[in-house]
Amino acid sequence: MALLELENVRAGYGPTSVLHDVSLSVPEAGVVSLLGANGAGKTTTLRAITGGVRWTGDIRFGGRSLRRMSTEDVVRGGIAHVPEGRGILTELTVDENLKLGSHLRRDGAEVKKDYDRVFEYFPVLKERRRLSASTLSGGEQQMLALARALLMKPRLMLLDEPSLGLAPIVVRAIFEIIKTINQTSNVAVLLVEQNARLALDVSSSAYVLEVGRVAVHGDSAELQGNESVRRSYLGY
């Protein structure tokens, strides 16, 4: 059974409908990309999952429907959502941001190990622990967002354009770590990306959205090899 399943999800803002019919699934510990042009509904799909936008149809996580659940409760159920713009609390320090990731956990010893791991992945965060998160660069803020998501010990991470606005070398590093996190902690990842080539490299399957519907769906390797799909939907 899939960890996350969306079935005929429709969602929108007020009278404007953004998602018309989206069905997709993310397997346990799998990495799935969600691709598509601007305005196709990628971010809205993620927001529907964590209850940031009203939806109809069904969304199930670990077999349980998320219908009518508040954002807080969905998140507490094991979904870490790194939103568009990274969701860094810039009024707080780096350390406080990390603490907000782990604040609901009661497994103290494990939390400590996870901190060690996080600082191993992102040594720069350790150096800047006491500084205000607003002093971090864009790449460092993305690292902080990922680190904080990892400290939530989720079963599923929703990542909204982790490459946005970052230098190519930073993007590479961040994607390497996304891969490592997925492999070492068995966290499933639903990855929204504009950079289709990069996303297909790390994911095992992919969905391409077009104007609120799933236009194409398949193995990442297959989509990469299919030239007509690449040209018409992925733009490279």
């Binding site: 964590t50 940031g52 508040s70 954002t71 807080e72 998140v75 507490r76 959502h81 939103p83 969701g87 860094i88 609390l89 810039t90 009024e91 707080l92 406080e96 603490k99 907000l100 990731g101 604040h103 609901l104 904080r148 939530m152």
Partner: protein, 293 residues
């Protein structure tokens, strides 16, 4: 010189009272970008609770913490019943609602307890101690110590505990906090509870000086506004520093500027508000409102 120092100490004592109420204003301003005009009235009602308890023969040192707990619960109830349904309303609606709340609480206190001023006990002796040549009353010292303790407790709660961290997170970034599993709405309610309890301290501290009656806090809230604005309205530390600065300034102005005396002291508070808004609109500790585009 000696008299001057005595006035300064008196100013610090009254400043601690302003600081507590200013801190209450800042706590709610941070949580919802709103100045709670009912803060003073809520503090006054809490002081009546303390008065009732003490009048029943309960010791001051038991009545005090019990009142804070009652005020805390009352703040939460007000947030849940009055504020929460209109949380997303335009700011002007919220302002009108807190003004209405102030009138309501004031009227309620008048209805329950009447408008006759009542004397309220102070647990500290009225005698003075000689501190390095300056005569300082134990009352002033007691008020300074109590407000200092309360402000320290609030600081530790907000800065050193997980619940304080989630309260700050919810106040500054509600959307991002929800995605981290923070129950934002309840954190706002806790903020109201905390503000209400801190405000109650100012009421209980000022009641022995002013006599307790439903309009007791109406001048204090002006000084608290002045303190909060001086500190930068969103900075808890600023509110505390602002409280002490306003207290000392008002006390010195009353003592040394001819004709200010007791009647025009309130005008000094207003003058501070106007001066800060003209000269340094972000206050001492406030950040300039910078928007990145």
């Amino acid at each position: 010189m000696q008299e001057f120092l005595q006035q300064v100490v008196g100013g610090i004592a009254i400043g601690g009272i302003f600081a507590s109420l200013a801190l209450a204003l800042v706590l709610i301003y941070n949580a919802m970008g709103l100045v709670n005009f009912a803060q003073g009235e809520m503090a006054m009602l809490a002081t009546f609770v303390a008065y009732t308890l003490i009048n029943r023969g309960i010791s001051y040192w038991i009545a005090f913490p019990v009142t804070l707990v009652v005020a805390f619960a009352g703040g939460i109830v007000i947030q849940r019943i009055v504020i929460r349904p209109v949380e997303r309303a335009p700011i002007l609606t919220l302002v009108i609602i807190t003004l209405g709340l102030a009138t309501l609480v004031n009227g309620l206190a008048g209805f329950l307890f009447g408008y006759v001023p009542r004397s309220f006990p102070s647990p500290f002796s009225a005698q003075s101690a000689d501190v390095a040549g300056v005569f300082v009353s134990y009352r002033d010292l007691g008020v300074i110590a109590m407000s200092g303790l309360v402000l320290l407790a609030v600081y530790l709660l907000l800065q050193r505990t997980t619940v304080g961290l989630t309260m700050r997170a919810a106040a500054h970034h509600p959307e991002a906090s929800r995605l981290l599993g923070v129950h934002v709405s309840w954190m706002l309610a806790l903020g109201w509870g905390l503000a209400s309890a801190v405000g109650a301290v100012s009421g209980i501290m000022v009641a022995p000086i002013l006599l307790l009656e439903p309009n007791m806090m109406q001048s204090i809230i002006i000084y608290a506004f002045a303190a909060a604005v001086l500190g930068g309205i969103e900075s808890p530390l600023g509110a505390v520093v602002g409280g002490f600065v306003v207290g000392v300034t008002v006390n010195l102005a009353g003592a040394y500027i001819p004709h200010v005396g007791g009647d025009l002291q309130l005008a000094v508070g207003l003058a501070i508000i106007v001066a800060v808004l003209i000269l340094k609109p972000n206050g001492l500790f406030g950040r300039a409102a910078v928007r990145r585009v």
